[in-house]
Subunit: 246 residues, 2 copies
Amino acid sequence: MRYKCTVCYDGSQFHGFQTQSDLRTVQIEIEAALEIIHKRKVNIFACSRTDAGVHAYGQIFHFDSEIKMPEWNMQNAINSRLPNDIYIKKVEIVSEDFHARYQVSKKEYHYLIDVGEYDPLKRNYRYYPKYHKTNIEAMEAASKVFIGVHDFKSFTKNHEIKNTVREIYDIEFIREGSLVTIKFIGNGFLHNMIRIIVAMLLEVGWGNLSKDDLEYILKQKNRKLAPKLAPANGLYLYKIYYNEKN
Amino acid sequence: MRYKCTVCYDGSQFHGFQTQSDLRTVQIEIEAALEIIHKRKVNIFACSRTDAGVHAYGQIFHFDSEIKMPEWNMQNAINSRLPNDIYIKKVEIVSEDFHARYQVSKKEYHYLIDVGEYDPLKRNYRYYPKYHKTNIEAMEAASKVFIGVHDFKSFTKNHEIKNTVREIYDIEFIREGSLVTIKFIGNGFLHNMIRIIVAMLLEVGWGNLSKDDLEYILKQKNRKLAPKLAPANGLYLYKIYYNEKN
């Protein structure tokens, strides 16, 4: 049986999603829960890695199991063995040709900026820039530079990867009071790509860079021209879209 | 100079407000910030104690200082020396007959219950009851029992206190989607009083007790009849009202 799971987590207390030595990660906690249920080690395959502090409302993973149980039953079995900062929202039994990572058609990430007064209760869930006057309209206009197929080499931390071309389908700005949600939809995102883009858009919002500057930096394919990184706590892996048959 | 401060904090990582031995409390952190500014120990006088895990949007304290500076300047001076889970929202220079604790006319607390699907990102800021069908209308109707002047001896943890009579001016239920905010306004609240009342109201919402049962328990003045306690993470010290001249 192959189970597809949609998982929500608060990234604040994790060293990211993926297992790495002894650090507390989301993957370690989920695999520990599955090991109790299966009485053997179970590997999960997730759609995306997320960095330390990054949250997820719609991370997807799959695993194979010899245990046949109804979807709601498997959901409860896992949730009852997870710490309270991870929650499985949905379990689906899928065919064995489904793969959480290789059949993705689109990924949607949200980045949350609050330009209002600092609220310590939301400090882990939004970025509160210290610089106070942020021109959101200028950020939104400049964001158009990134839409389409581009080589995002200037906007990634990882320079070992060969193919740094990605397509961004849409970047949308949504304002609710002092909260600005920037929605990114694309076929995939490089390591740190969204956080670097947001940091550079904020430089536009603060009047330090122009839209033309961003266009120039994009064309130069040189990370040294985009040396900023927005904090992890504003970033959410929001939704993963699969090809229709999945 | 007497300074009155309005402070907001995330109670999750504190052992309550008030200093007690070596535990991390809100008071310790604020007094440490003031000690850096004043180069001497400064005592603060707060309106209310809050327990571990309880949040505040409008806790009030005052302190006396030989330093004369504009209100915004003192606010920045303190905030820049506080950890990021405490934030001073307002500083006011007040007359020396103002006292944060002794001139209170009303206190407003909010208790947040979410009857929808569990969200791990909000786990520290709302109570998610595990029991799923909660009759909010029945809770609201039963809450009327507590409005007015009553001896709340059945609804407090502290049985050493002599005067357990308090007046609740209003209890209001506000629904926004799956979120239920219960607003309590009164002249004062005993230790754990709101959390015990909420726990007993939830028993009504789950069909285990009736409004008449709550009336009976209130009259009996016996905590053994009200042995429940709602979690701290749903409770907020929302606003303190002072007599007009303050």
